[in-house]
Subunit: 351 residues, 2 copies
Amino acid sequence: MTAPEYRTRIALLKKELARRGLDSLLVTDGTNVSYLSGFTGHDSMLLVTLGHNYFITDSRYIEEARESIRHFDIRLVESSSYDTISGIVKRARLKKVGFESMDLPWAVAGRLRKSLKDAALAGQKDIVEDLRAVKDSGEIALIRNSIRCTRKVLDELSGMARPGTSEKALAKRCEIAFIQAGAKAAFEPIVATGQNASRPHSRPTDTAIKRDGFVMFDIGCSLQGYCSDMTRMVTLGSVKEKFRKMYSTVRAAQEIAIGKVGPGARASDVDGAARSLIERHGFGKYFGHSVGHGVGMKVHEGPTISRISRTRLEPGMVFTVEPAIYVPKFGGVRIEDMVLVTDRGCEVLTR
Amino acid sequence: MTAPEYRTRIALLKKELARRGLDSLLVTDGTNVSYLSGFTGHDSMLLVTLGHNYFITDSRYIEEARESIRHFDIRLVESSSYDTISGIVKRARLKKVGFESMDLPWAVAGRLRKSLKDAALAGQKDIVEDLRAVKDSGEIALIRNSIRCTRKVLDELSGMARPGTSEKALAKRCEIAFIQAGAKAAFEPIVATGQNASRPHSRPTDTAIKRDGFVMFDIGCSLQGYCSDMTRMVTLGSVKEKFRKMYSTVRAAQEIAIGKVGPGARASDVDGAARSLIERHGFGKYFGHSVGHGVGMKVHEGPTISRISRTRLEPGMVFTVEPAIYVPKFGGVRIEDMVLVTDRGCEVLTR
């Protein structure tokens, strides 16, 4: 990642602070700290004010921070982080300090509020998360690398999917292949065959793949800080007619949903297009979850692609489109691709 | 894990609720949910009242919960978890609902407080964590299994530590070996050679091991839900006299600290014994962190073995004893073992 990108991110953050009437934001979520500063250690935080940037860490990470962090004034926590923060707030004469209210635990925020005598502490949601939902070119390049790694592992697993092989053996191989590639599994790999695929979050069992069966692979990795997430169905021999009908319905639902993706489109329309097609084919009650989620530094982040999402799509957003049909006691079909919203429409990153 | 152990844990929790003047506790921390119920999925919570136990989850996990959870009345979140919780609180006529204030984010606790009209919401710390700090026999057996796995991998890595091998190659092999054994790394393996070992949280680099050098391996796994954590120093050829002096000092510090471990002993005395020996040998300023931490479902949990700890040791506590000396620009020595407090003294689990 080049330094100017951090500068741009911090500048965009300050613009949003001003818009919300804040003179500063305490960033405590580890992923957000990393997004704004490049730091990849733990237990550190940022205090970004309209005029200055502070990076706050303890003795375990101070050496690493001093060597690797630019654009931030690095401060060492001596006794307690409450004292360090309130010291900066006082000297900088801050009056309204925002904090990440979906991250900071109740007890910590309460104690911080007490330690900031003359400044108000104001809970904020999704400030940095909303910035993260729109990827810059460096991030898109890293996501492409991460996808390349997941595709390669998917190819290997598809080749290994033979009658008699167990879900657990394939899941284990998946995790090892990611590590060998310098990545790591972004979530526990889902390898589900037959009935087991009827649960959206099935966990690998000792069940072996059957002749004339099918396997759902939902896998993804994190590589150099960026994630990928794909689901593919692999069939063996001649699968049942019912499975084929489910598959073609999900495929058509995904096509129509991806067709809706473009700048200015409503996320809820992308979900709606897939959902109504599945309903028209009589599978409506077998599709409960939303159609997609953003992918970036985390494998689940903004934007949410659901019926109730109010998001308007913007160029640079990257998310999954993953309609599905889960029929209890029979099995499930999910097809998941990642798309990038472009200036004119969209690019399917995973094909 | 056998069912009676969950019953015992829940009974001990209720006793503590009564002692704190609470009629119930909302358990949201995922590890605590798992400890009390055996559930290993995500996004679920417990409401334990003096008279009843509720397990609250959504459609993704309801099927799994119904199949695997005993001792709990399973409730499905229909629209929002706030509504589900406040519905139960109202019907059960609860008046004082405790919640885990170091887990629940500020915004979530605030909204929950609003939704509970007639009941007070009271932040609580460490209720379940304090129970978890004392292991029952089933847990100790699982910790022994986890340690066996880590020891085996440590043996393999020690054999691979030859001049020219890089830290990263060894760390990668460590992660793969854990997966092959059915476990996973409990934290990013620390493999640090030479100067790199002078940072307590060094991350593996491309640095190769040198002839007449040394390597610090700090690794641990999670197996069937329980963790292990060990640090060993491996030397190659004839290491420097300074290293040997550091090593023998750390070894002696660990011996004297372990000698203090037993029921009724102060955790701070265990830390103090190691620390003062290191100080007497002139290395005091090179040992910053505390001497140990509890290990169980999480690799870092209670009790904390530090200068300021107020804990009195109890039989069933399991923790690390890991004195160290970190000399900048030269290297570091840490030796870490796990001990179990027994009725009469202690057992070193990792020897």
